[in-house]
């Protein structure tokens, strides 16, 4: 039996899902103490969610499969108890917020758990009110959860778990739908709960830098095994490069420090936060004659069109039938050589704007011209030949028996002559590295491959413009970069125009050539990322934050006159190297 202070004990925990042969968990050894905040991280498919599901007994009781080794939660042998019982003590927040909202109103949602615990009505009302108040959801009390934004839905789902007052909180990516500022708020809320109520909290996250000073311990999982374990400062600082190799995202400033150190520059300690990095670099920069007076790179060109626009949006507005004005009097042009990242809060009109570009939606006011066609009186058929649209979730479009059939669907619809099918399908499949999967069933593929099939099914129609709506949401940092590398390849090698929507500022900073910031249905900023991300105050108004490295160079620039327009670790490294090595 576990000692009194130990709440979770796993010994050689091994678990295999039914119908599979590879174990999802492969000999996990882990102990969690009461009151601890444990951060579990690792690439997609590492077994993080499976491990979490074993803490409340969903593994093995709900999913089936075979479980070996030992797992004790609050002194109970998980195998011998039920998920229903464990769930009264272990609250679990799942990844996708909308998948776990089941009630007609926000209030009902939050009360559902406490009702199941047979708590008296008055107590439930009190708890519901206080939790909703706490999460800033009071105004949404009577609204249906599905009508809320992604961020609010996530807050409701979390409130529903917290209202049950579980001894152990297990949170699987609790901030995936939140903006940077919302994320920080949730993490500090969790710290407060753990201090005040002595709750144990287990968080699965990719956002490591925000949790440096909140988590007591980091557990890195890969291939169903515990790979690294220890205090966050130690793991993130010393193993930053290793973490990146495993597809994770250690703080940018730690990576920069490591890279500088490897070139022989003397770096004292590995910083984890912006102030720490500022101090570390200040020391390293003392060899220079400060202050310098470089504020910008020699040639950051302002955004300038070199050709005629291929898509013209003129004073376009779009109002949904329910009356929501999602896009308001927007005028913007897109050019053949564009690689545009569109950012903005949930509900700022990003998706509505891009749906206007291929005729899925037609402007209720104003004009959208797509390759010379007025979208209002051109059939969608003619528009999608020019503008391909890839939806976020591949599962909302794949339906065929084989990948090959899936790819021929668009060709058939566009009445492309049959003798061209094979060559088109084969070349696209090769480009996307799915040529070996053509005979497979789409549903049997991994999520990443399904996404590639979905992209391929649009590319076979050979559109000039490829619109991708949140291709990176719900993926680990490595998968996100893979998708973006693919987009870059389509842009560089096949001269495709790329328009993508994302919440990940680091990706926009690294990949986009042009950045559009939306707010309240309008375009707030439009320009090259190197200019956009220096407008710190403007961005903050709409809850966006430049990459960590950019914020560091804001400080360095203000104090020492270094360049401020640094958006990626690579840029920072190259820049500092030329300064420090010479």
């Amino acid at each position: 039996m576990a000692s009194k202070a130990t709440v979770i004990t796993c010994k050689n925990l091994t678990y295999t899902y039914p119908g599979t042969t590879e174990p999802a968990l492969d000999g996990i050894d882990l102990e969690v103490q009461r009151g601890e905040i444990v951060l579990i991280t690792g690439p997609t498919g590492a077994g993080k969610t499976t491990l979490c599901s074993s803490f409340n007994g969903l593994v093995p009781h709900f999913y089936g499969g075979t479980l070996d080794g030992q797992i004790y939660v609050l002194g109970q042998d998980v195998r011998k108890t039920t998920a229903g019982y464990l769930s009264t003590k272990v609250g679990m927040l799942f990844q996708d917020p909308s998948s776990q909202l089941i009630s007609a109103t926000v209030e009902d949602e939050v009360a559902f758990g406490p009702e199941n615990l047979a708590i008296p009505v008055e107590e439930i009302e009190k708890r519901t009110d206080s939790v909703l108040d706490f999460m800033g959801l009071k105004a949404q009390k009577g609204r249906p959860p599905f009508a809320l934004s992604g961020g609010q839905q996530q807050a409701v789902a979390l409130a529903a778990v917290i209202a049950m007052k579980p001894e152990i909180l297990v949170l699987d990516e609790p901030t995936s739908n939140l903006d940077p500022i919302g994320t920080v708020n949730i993490f500090s809320l969790l710290r407060r709960i753990s201090r005040e109520e002595e709750n144990t909290i287990i968080i699965v996250e990719h956002k490591l830098q925000e949790l440096v000073d909140i988590a007591d311990r980091i557990v890195v999982i890969d291939d169903g095994k515990v790979r690294l374990e220890g205090p966050p400062r130690e793991i993130l600082a010393e193993d930053a490069v290793l973490l990146r190799e495993r597809g994770l995202q250690p703080p940018q400033v730690s990576l920069l420090a490591h890279e500088l150190r490897e070139t022989g520059i003397h770096i004292e300690g590995i910083p984890l936060t912006i102030p720490e990095a500022f101090d570390t670099l200040s020391k390293a920069l003392q060899t220079l004659k400060l202050p310098l007076s470089e504020t910008k790179a020699e040639e950051t060109k302002p955004f300038q069109a070199t050709s005629k626009p291929i898509i013209e949006v003129q004073n376009a507005s779009f109002q949904y039938p329910g009356g929501v004005l999602a896009v308001q009097d927007v005028s913007v042009n897109f050019y053949k050589e564009d690689f545009v990242g569109i950012i903005g809060q949930n509900g700022s009109g990003k998706t509505t704007l891009v749906k206007l570009l291929n005729g899925l939606l037609r402007p209720t006011r104003g004009i959208v011209n797509v390759f010379g066609l007025n979208s209002r009186d051109s059939p969608i058929h003619d528009l999608i030949k020019h503008v391909g649209y890839v939806f976020q979730d591949p599962d909302s479009q794949l339906f065929s028996k084989t990948v090959h059939q899936e790819l021929s669907f668009g060709l058939k619809n566009l009445r492309v002559p049959r003798d061209q099918w094979e060559s088109r399908i084969n070349s696209v499949a090769k480009t996307l590295l799915i040529d070996s999967l053509l005979k497979e069933a789409p549903y049997s593929l991994s999520r990443g491959d399904r996404q590639r099939v979905a992209i391929a099914s649009v590319l076979v129609m050979e559109p000039q413009v490829v619109v991708v709506d949140e291709p990176t949401t719900g993926q680990d940092p490595r998968k996100r970069r893979e998708i973006m590398e693919l987009m870059r390849m389509l842009h560089d090698k096949y001269e495709k125009t790329i328009i993508f929507i994302t919440h990940d500022m680091d990706l926009v900073a690294e990949y986009a050539k042009r950045c559009i910031v939306m707010r309240d249905g309008g375009i707030m900023l439009d320009g090259v990322p190197h200019e956009i991300f220096l407008q710190y105050e403007e961005l903050e108004k709409t809850h966006l934050k430049p990459p960590m490295i950019t914020l560091l160079f804001k400080e360095l620039g203000e104090r020492y006159g270094l360049r401020k327009d640094i958006l990626t670790v690579d840029e920072a490294f190259d820049y500092l190297k030329t300064k420090l090595v010479s």
């Binding site: 969903l58 709900f62 047979a118 058929h381 649009v458």
Partner: protein, 275 residues
């Protein structure tokens, strides 16, 4: 939507769902015993007043009624075919030799069409003023297992989400050139496969997710003992409302039996002396 709820605090909103069911039954009795189209119009006026008092915009009533108009006309016309003229004057035939038009068949036709309208108006009035959760609690009170009430509740609240997901699927397929808006019914059927297959997949996924969530929120721990936060209670208003409606119905039935009133021709012939 068939289960649209209009929030409010009117008498109709406050009534216990069970009262509303009983009220519905009482009005059904009225619908059965009353044959007079003018009295039927009077009842319809009462329902309209109740809509007004419940704070439901009459535009909603009109949009329901618009959809009923074809059915209304169908009821009217079909009646000429099925009701034999009982010795009344035949003005003309709708088709040569069949479907005679008389005063009586016209009145019967109008009445049965109005009955249909009344029936729909009343049932929509009740669903407009009763939330799903109230219905579910009424089910639990009437001794149905909490599992059934809870799963029905989840199913209803999943509807908007599923509609959303389906429209995403449709848009995704349109972006791949799928022609969902073709006229030919066979082609239309086939064109729906790319929508239906992901739709089924997403529905199953939703089912799995809901089951997982319900488990993780400890529903299966002890469903029989769980608290139902909302309570419904038979109050003074319920008794008063039911008594009024009951007395009214009983009076109508009694008068009908004793005096033979409320027949098709009652007001037109015996009161207004028109026919």
């Amino acid at each position: 939507m068939a289960f649209e709820y209009v929030p409010g605090h009117s008498l109709m909103h406050r009534l216990d769902p069970r009262t509303k069911v009983l009220f519905f039954l009482l009005v059904t009795v009225l619908i059965i015993v009353i044959y007079d189209p003018i009295i039927m119009l009077g009842l319809l006026a009462i329902i309209v007043a109740m809509y007004k008092l419940s704070g439901i915009p009459l535009s909603k009533l009109w949009s329901i009624t618009k959809a009923l108009l074809p059915v209304f006309i169908m009821f009217l016309v079909l009646n000429y075919f099925v009701i034999p003229p009982r010795g009344a004057t035949v003005y003309f035939y709708l088709l040569p030799g069949i479907a005679p038009v008389t005063v009586e068949t016209t009145l019967i036709g109008i009445t049965s069409a109005l009955r249909f309208v009344l029936f729909i108006w009343l049932s929509r009035l009740l669903t407009f003023t009763t939330s799903i959760s109230e219905i579910l609690i009424a089910m639990v009170k009437m001794k149905s297992p909490p599992e059934i009430a809870t799963s029905l509740g989840i199913a209803f609240s999943s509807v908007p989400l599923m509609i959303n997901q389906f429209s995403t699927v449709i848009q995704a397929q349109k972006s791949r050139g799928s022609q969902i808006e073709v006229r030919n019914p066979i082609k239309k059927g086939i064109s729906f496969i790319p929508v239906v297959v992901p739709g089924i997949y997403l529905t199953i996924l939703r089912g799995m997710n809901v089951a997982r969530t319900v488990e993780a929120r400890a529903f299966t721990y002890n469903p029989a003992k769980r608290t139902f936060r909302r309570k419904i209670e038979f109050g003074r208003e319920d008794y008063a409302f039911l008594a009024t409606a009951g007395l009214f119905t009983a009076a109508v039935v009694a008068i009908k039996i004793l005096y033979g009133w409320f027949d098709y021709t009652f007001i037109l012939r015996d009161v207004l002396k028109l026919v």
